[in-house]
Structures are given as C-alpha cells and as structure tokens.
C-alpha cells in the first residue's frame, strides 16, 4: 500500500525523471544545432527542482516513503538542492564548450546530466541497501556515457573505459559488502540493519568483513587513496564540462551515501569504520597533495587536489564517535557536510574559469595556459585566485572556514590520535598551498605566452561565474547561515 506521503517524498525525483524524458522527446523535434529548447527546459527543470527541494528542506520534516525505502529529511533535501544548483551551474558554464566540441549532435548532454542528477538524488535519499545501489548505478552509468560523449576523441574514450572498468569493480565491492551485511542481519533496510547490528547478537567478524568492502566502495566514489586511480585520468581525459559534471554534484552524493550507510546503517561499528577512514584520509592527504605538486596539467592537478580535499571530508566523518560516545557526532558530520558543500562551490567556479578560457580547438587545461590571466582579465583572474586560495584554506575564504570546522571537530574530541591527525592535516595543507600558489603565480606574475584575443563569454556565464566567485568570498566572511543549516540538517538526521 503506497500512501500519499510516499509520493510527496519523491516528488523531486519524479519531476526530474519526467522532465528528462520530456526533454529527450522535445529534443527530437529541435532541428537547430544549438539545442536551445533542451537547454532552456533543463535549466528551468533544475531551477524548479532546486526550489522544490529547498522548500521541503525549509519545512524541516522527515518523511519516509515506500515502507522506509526512501527518506526525505532536511539533510537530503538540502543536499539535493545544492546538487541541482551545481548541475544547473555546470550546464550554464558548459554550454559554449559542448557546442564548440560537437557534443550537441543530440540532446544526450542534457538528458544524461538530468539522469545523473536523478541517480544522485536517489543515493541521497535511499534508506535501503538496494535503493542506494540503484541510485549509484544510475549515476555512474550516466557518467560513463557522459565521459564518452565526444565519441571521436580518443582520450575521452580511454578515460571512459578506465572509469567504467574501475567503477564496475567498485560497484562490485560495494554490492559484495552489502550482501555480506545482508546475510548477517537478514535485512536490507537501514533501520533494520542498525537495530540488528546494535543488538550485539551478530558475529563481529562477518560484519567487519562486509564493512571493509562497503568502505572500499565508498572510497572509490569519493576517490580517496588507494581507490583514487581513476580520478586523475578521468578528470583529465573527460571533456572539461563533463569533468565538472562528475566532479561537483556527485561528491554531495558520496557524502550522503556515506552518512546513510555508515551512520544510519552501521553506527554501532563506528570504531571499525573510523579506523578505516583514518587510514584512507591520511593516505589521501599525503598522496593527493604530493602528487599534485608534480602536475603540469591543470585538470590533473585539480584532480589530485580533490583527492586531498576528500581526505579532509573523511577527517570530519571519522571524528563523530569517541569511545562509544555519540555526542560529538552532530558537530563532526555537519563539519564534513559544510566541507563538501564549500568544496563543490569552489570547484564549480574554478572549472568555470577553465571552461571559459577554452575556445574552439583549444582546451586551456595546462597550467601554463593561464599565464598572464591577470593582464587579460583581472576579474576572471581574481575569481580563479579566490578559488585557489580558498582551496588552500587561506582566510577569509570559504575553504578556510571548512578546514576550521573539520579541525575543530577533530581537536574537540580530545583524543591525542585525532589531534595528531589534525596537525598532520594542516601540515599537508601547507604542501597544498604550494601548488595552488603556483597557479596564482602563473596568472599574476607571468606574462601571457602569446597574443590571444579577448575572453568572450555569454552574459549568463559571466553573471553566474561572478556570483559564484563572490559566494566563495562571502561565505568565507559570513559562513554562519550555511553552518547552521548543515548543523540543523545533521541534528535532524541523527534524531531519527
């Protein structure tokens, strides 16, 4: 029996699915090469979905639907709202780029993006092992196709292949882990799992055995060491607009899925998975930051920087439970949520600049391509500099506030080991500062290599990009609202 609340809980998903189909159909009638109809419809849909989820989130209710298979709580709705906005912004930034590269032969760019977002939504809202897995597969399958969208471009195809093979393996890991836990607990429902695990009746080894695979699958989604191999290749190989599509909104989904699986499902095993996350975090911070130094390709450097940044998110996730005491959980998880949102915001703007500087037949993805940007356009150089300083964690930018909240979560546990981790993390962000600064150096201190024309950008790109850059600064100066939003969402999530 499906009650009406169930439908309310999944309205945003329904809207997305219906509109994805509508856009696919409408696009068939559109004979123009610019796909204007599909673009406008997609943007409107995303804006409507963002507004709808924000309305849900402000309402603050937690609704379970379909017998507890999906949940619509403030955390889910805020994350969905940001994911929809991120996808919208990606479409805006990417429009000139995909048009110039022959990626608009059909409307796939829009339809696949909406379907990927639908997968993201399902992952965020899933409250059941199978639903979560379904969302994950929807997202990744759409992403594989997106990466291969430039079908005449060998590098993209190679990236897509690599992504597919490794992604399939990771899905296998996750599914295997979930099946172990299902075998031990006899239920797929997160609420049931947490009850069964908490009862202490189940053999610990079996659970931890399954947990290892679950964490590996999640680590692949985050792209943390040692499951990071795909990130640099895919980031570099994919068309830049697609890089942004898989680099921004899906990070929110990875965060949400970790919360669902590890916290809502397996909180009693926190001691075990926190240790695993700690190892992953340390390895990511180390390898991500060190490898980024050696890169000359900007997209590849940002890929390694992502690995390091995700290490920070894990640091937030692993400081929630201390000696079986869950009191610090709200603080820790909301710091991770804040981190991931601010990361997505900054990533959008920095890739927005890369997209903007690319022209027909020119990718602008080497760091050297940014040379003298300050002389060509102080505004865009300023936006990029703000993003890079933010990623480096320099105040007064949002990246600093994010790092501060995670450090605060670590240190306030009072555990010497976690305080040690905090010191390690800040030392690694010093390493990080070096390669971010190097890009700033290229933009500000070097002269442009060749005489290049003025940077042309459509009005919508300029407006959104300026707003995006401004937000990185403003949220750094006034982070209070977003922090409170994250804290309230996490508190509500933990309460249920």
């Amino acid at each position: 029996m499906i009650d009406k609340f169930s439908w309310i809980a999944v309205y945003p998903e329904i809207v997305l699915l219906v509109m994805a189909c509508v856009i696919a159909l409408v696009d068939l009638l559109d004979r123009g090469g610019r796909r204007t109809a599909a673009y406008v419809l997609s943007v409107l849909t995303l804006a409507a979905v963002a507004a709808l989820t924000a309305m849900y989130a402000r309402d603050g209710r937690t609704v379970y639907g379909f017998g507890g298979m999906v949940v619509s709580d403030p955390m889910a709705n805020w994350l969905k709202c940001f994911a929809a906005i991120a996808t919208l912004v990606t479409l805006v930034y990417g429009r000139p780029y995909v048009r110039d590269r022959g990626m608009l032969r059909g409307g796939e760019w829009f339809v696949l993006s909406l379907l990927a977002l639908l997968g993201t939504f399902v992952m965020i809202s899933g409250s059941n092992f199978l639903v979560l897995y379904l969302g994950l597969e929807l997202l990744t399958l759409a992403s594989y196709a997106l990466v291969a969208l430039r079908r005449d471009h060998a590098v993209s195809l190679e990236a897509s292949m690599k992504y597919f093979v490794l992604g399939a393996m990771a899905s296998g890991f996750l599914l295997y882990g979930l099946s172990m836990i299902y075998g031990a607990t006899g239920t797929l429902d997160l609420a049931g799992v947490v009850k069964a695990v908490g009862s202490g009746q189940i053999k610990h080894q079996v659970l931890v055995f399954g947990l290892v695979f679950v964490v590996s699958g999640l680590a692949f989604k985050f792209g943390v060491v040692p499951f990071h191999m795909w990130i640099p290749d895919v980031y570099q190989g994919a068309p830049t607009a697609v890089t942004l599509m898989i680099g921004a909104a899906p990070k929110l989904a990875a965060f949400a899925m970790s919360i669902r699986l590890l916290v809502e499902g397996l909180l009693p095993l926190a001691v075990d998975w926190q240790q695993m996350l700690a190892v992953l975090a340390v390895a990511s911070l180390l390898i991500g930051n060190l490898a980024a130094i050696a890169q000359t390709n900007l997209k590849r450097m940002l890929a390694y920087s992502t690995i390091a940044q995700m290490g920070f998110v894990l640091l937030g996730l692993l400081s929630g439970v201390v000696d079986g005491n869950v009191a610090p959980a709200a603080n820790a998880y909301s710091s991770a949520m804040f981190y991931v949102i601010s990361y997505v915001l900054t990533t959008l703007a920095s890739f927005g600049i890369i997209l903007l500087l690319s022209r027909e037949g020119f990718e602008s993805e080497e760091i050297a391509d940014l040379a003298g940007l300050n002389q060509r356009s102080p505004l865009y150089a300023g936006i990029m500099a703000v993003c890079l300083f933010s990623l480096a964690g320099i105040p007064p930018l949002v990246g600093f506030q994010a790092k501060l909240s995670v450090l605060q979560a670590l240190v306030s546990t009072g555990q010497p080991l976690l305080i040690g981790l905090a010191v390690f993390a800040v030392m690694m962000s010093l390493v990080g500062a070096f390669y971010y600064l190097r890009v700033v150096k290229v933009m500000y201190f070097d002269a442009p290599v060749e005489q290049v024309g003025p940077i042309v950008a459509p009005l919508d790109v300029r407006a959104v990009l300026s707003l995006n850059g401004l937000l990185v600064l403003v949220l750094g100066i006034l982070p209070g609202a977003l922090m409170t939003l994250c804290a309230n969402a996490i508190v509500k999530m933990l309460a249920t």
Partner: protein, 491 residues
Amino acid sequence: MGWLSLAIWTPIVFGVLLLALGRDDQAPLVRWIALIGSILGFLVTLPLYGGFRLGSAEMQFVERAPWITRFNVNYHLGVDGISLWFVLLTAFITVIVVIAGWEVIQRKVNQYMAAFLILSGLMIGVFSALDGVLFYVFFEATLIPMYLIIGIWGGPNKIYAAFKFFLYTLLGSLLTLVAFVYLYSRSGGSFDIQTWQAMPLSATAQTLIFFALFAAFAVKVPMWPVHTWLPDVHVEAPTGGSAVLAAIMLKLGAYGFLRFSLPIAPDAAHEWSGLMIGLSLIAVIYVGLVALVQQDMKKLVAYSSVAHMGFVTLGFFIFNDLGISGGLVQMIAHGFVSGAMFLCIGVLYDRVHSREISSYGGVVNTMPKFTAFALLFAMANCGLPATAGFVGEWMVILGAVKHNFWIGLGAATALILGAAYTLWMFKRVYFGPVANDDVRQLTDINAREFLMLALLAVAVLGMGLYPKPFTDVMDASVQNLLAHVAQSKLN
C-alpha cells in the same frame, strides 16, 4: 559602527573600490583615490588616541557582535595600551607608502594601491581583534596581498621570494590554528582571547601551546634561526612592500607574543624564557655581525631589522616593565626608522636601479637634501639619543641589566654593532668623492619624496625628543600584563 571598525574597513572599502576602477589609463585618478583613502584611514584612527583613557588596562573602544554563532565566534574588537599605537602606526605608514608608490608604479596601479589599502585594514584588524578566529583571519589574510605585491611588482627573483614569504609564514601559522582550536575546546567553546588568558592550563598544555604559537610568531618577527626568509623577501619586494613589511608586518609577530604567548601560557613562557633570551641575543649579536658584511643595502637593512627585533623579543622575555615597554617603544620606533630606511633605498634605486653599496659613493654631492634625511634615519637606526631609535633600546638595556648584568652587556653590544654597520654603509654610499657617472647624474628629491621623508623625519625626531605620549599609553597595560604573567596558571 565604532572607530575601530572604521579604521579597519575604510581602507578596505577604498581598496575594493580601486579594484573595481580598473584600467591603467585611469592611473592619476586611481592614485588620488588611493591617497584620499589612506588619509581618511589615518584620520579615523586619530579619535582612538584622542579618546583613549590613560591609566586603564581595560580594553577600550570595544565592539562585539556575534559572527559565527555555531562556534561562538564573535566580531570582537578592542584596543589597550599595547595595541593602540600600532593601529595608528599602520595607518600612518600606509599614507607614506601610497605617496612612495606614486610615480614609481606604472603597471596595474589600481591593484598596487588596492593591495596596500586592503593590507592596511587587515593589519589594523590583527592589532584590534579580541577573538581568536578573527585574529587568525586577519593575520593570515595579510599573506594574500603581500604575496601579490612581492610577486607582481618585485625584483628579478620575485617569484622565489613570494613563495618563500608565503609558505614560511603559513607553516608557522597553521600550527597556531591548531593551538587556537585546542584552546577553544579546552575553554568549553570560546574563542575569546581574554577568556583564554584567564583560563588555567596544565604545564604540558602550556608548553605545547607556547611552541605552537612560537612557530607562527617567531617566523613573523623573525627570530633567529627562522629569519632567513626576511632578507630574501626584502631584497625582491618593491620599496613599498619592504617598508610595510619591516614597519608593520614584523610587529604582528612580536605583538602576538604579548597578546597570546605570554598571557595564555605564562608558566611556559617563564620556563622557556632562557631559550627566548638566548635566541634574541643571537639575533642581536650574530645577525648584527652578518649585517656588517652585506653588499646589498636592502639586505643590510633587513638584517638590521632582525637584530632590532631581537631587541624587542629580548625585552619581552626578561619580564620587567622596562623590558616590555622598551620592547614596545622599540617596535614603534623601528616601524618609523626601518620604513624610512627602505624608502631611502627606494629613492636611490628608482634613479640608479641598483641596491649594491658599491654602485654608489659621494651621493651627498649630488643629493644634499636627500642625504640630510638619510643621515637622520641612519642615526636613528644606530640609536642616537634624541631620535626614536634611542628610547626603546635604552629602556631594554636598562631592563636587561636589571634582570642580569651579562644579558644587559650582550644587548648593549648591539648599539656598537648597529652604529658600525649603519654608519659604514652610510659612509660608503653618501660620503667621499662622486664615484661614477650614475651618481653624477642623480637629481635631488622632488617635492613628493621630500614630503614623504619629512613626515617620517618628524615622527622619528618627535618620538625621540618626547616619548612620553607613547609610554603613557602603554604603562597601565604593561603593568597589568606583568601582574598577569607573574601569576601561575597551573591548576
């Protein structure tokens, strides 16, 4: 909006305005707006001195508003006798620097001026923040404009210098951030500096905090042996950058010792004072000797800055009022004098494009007016009585002798070394016959340069002849600090 907020935000608002103004063909307009902004920024600091209640150790002009409620972070400002003069000094030096960059900078004028104005607001923020996070935000944010100033308008090896500056100082301050967060959790959720100062702490915690803070402040001061970034950076930075760096940014570190290290970890400060005094004496004597052999004028003044700042930290860690007040007076005096020394080098560099001492000789023959100013500042740098440089050094030496005769003796050698390296440089550059064609073609300073040097000369002489306004302001706060530091915080 209080006066402190105005002092912080006036220059920043003007800086942002300049960034928006844009192109180089509007340079004259940009310069005038920058000048107006800096002068306004200075004028709004004057009521702080005028309205300051002497004899009170309380924080004054306090402003407090919630900022990040989730972490109980407040926009909490206030000045006491320790910080007041630095607010004024910062705003004053900014005016000078804007004048100094007037004709010299022709490329990206708006960004240059904006960087200095924003930097000025941020540094005033550091001196007036009473909340840990607020302090840290201002402290770190200063890196961004300074990095750009060095990197865009610097000398041939500017990129190395810019990176060295940024990474070196970031290394120190990141540990401080961890210490702040630790203090936050230990104090039960407060970033308030005064709460931290009052909070008891175990010996281990104090030692760890002391060294975490030391990492940031010692690099910034800079103390021996983490001073190596300073000469490199000074040599490459544009004149204005060097002046601000020496005159104010170095003081951020020393100020941090007084605001954080000593009151928050007093027992650790006492315990490790021997180390601090040792490092300070090495800076005074060894770095003084290093300064003696420099070939590059900027390097020489940079090493002299390290030596002078060694005096300041020495004064702080002998724990008596002469030492601390002397250190503070020395900081302000050094702000005027080192700023002036770098501007003098800038005047020569603009004409000859060399900083080598050997490229000059007999400058007095072609630039008599300029040489008169340079002589005054050189004398102040060696601590001649009746100049600003004398007062602080004298007080610190007296304090050191009171503490321990031998330390006092070691400190006093600085006067000899300071005189040696400053006057020897002065002799080689200014006196003697005209050395080469470059010097022969020198033109004396114009009205703009005269104005800039005259303002500083008035400050240097005024402070040397009548230091009472400075010491009066500090007195109550220094006494209060000493009383606080004398009490153990071990529980």
